[in-house]
Point group: C2
């Protein structure tokens, strides 16, 4: 049933989804839906959890990296690129519902992205470049990174199903932007 929902959400958003629609796609009777979810919003938050599981795996994989700034940037963009390709439906769902019409789903996504940022911040604190950074500055930087990753992922989403050339251009731009940010980071003097 979750899969059926995800399939339909490829070109629809959660608020316009119908119970009958989902069960039809899943090959079940309408009443069967209520055996599993009270609401369509409930199905939505279930999908959020499912999507974020795969996302957390990606985060660990990014944060576990070591090496110079350049390779780190390259690997980060690679991981994003691959994640979008391999979990297209989940990423699209998150991008679409992050500011979508269903409050509970929106809040679930936002909370999880916040935890994501905290995790990134903790990882940043361990890097030597961050010596002497205040807690606030670390958080600020982490949010900048997370927002940038989200924007990049969303852009890749649109690009991958249109034009492979455009995908490479977006990845290249993302790498440059990360280089510029890490440059600013090296010269940061505290707020």
């Amino acid at each position: 049933m979750l899969d059926a929902g995800l399939r339909l959400l490829a070109d629809q958003n959660l608020a316009s989804l119908g119970v009958r629609e989902v069960t039809r796609e899943a090959g079940l009777s309408p009443a069967a839906f209520y055996r599993h979810f009270p609401d369509l919003a409930a199905l939505g938050v279930a999908l959020v959890e499912e999507s974020l599981a795969s996302l957390h795996v990606m985060i660990r994989s990014v944060l576990a990296e070591a090496g110079g700034a350049e390779e780190l940037i390259d690997r980060t963009v690679d991981v994003i690129e691959r994640h979008v390709r391999e979990h297209r439906s989940h990423v699209r769902f998150l991008a679409r519902e992050r500011h979508g019409g269903v409050r509970r789903v929106r809040e679930a996504i936002d909370a999880e992205l916040g935890r994501f940022a905290a995790e990134v911040g903790a990882a940043l604190a361990l890097q030597p470049v961050s010596r002497g950074w205040s807690e606030q500055d670390l958080r600020m930087l982490a949010e900048l990174y997370v927002d940038h990753m989200v924007s990049t992922a969303a852009a890749l989403l649109d690009a991958q199903e249109a034009d492979p050339e455009r995908e490479r251009r977006i990845a290249a731009t993302a790498r440059l932007q990360l280089r510029l940010i890490s440059l600013g980071r090296r010269h940061w003097q505290g707020s």
Copy 2:
């Protein structure tokens, strides 16, 4: 009718909007809708145009600024903050439909944001800091700024209707992030 649509889109998204719903909110009969739009998607693109008019005004106002980097950043964030407050419905609509379920609307928004980035890039080229920057690097930086503005606006949207303290925190973070980016910009050596 546009106003009615916008009002309904406060807690709904375009794909789940109904013709009858709109006309009811507007105080008209269902058939009246078809006097003005063939589609609901058409109403969507009309709203995109309306929203982007006010957005373009904002852009000019940001780009027309002069002064040191610090005041420029402060004024930029101020303008965004005020714009979100004064055009909350439009901003919300754009944030929601940018990755929403209606292709034509999505494409209209993306195209316009691209033009926005080009405009920002042209303005950046005029600043002394950008001496020697390649066209590609300028575009990269402009997109970084635009993405950052969009993220900030979306975050402010959620914050303003919840907690005035949280709004100030987001604005403060945005200023710090812009300072870090402009630091990286000063030390950029070309790609």
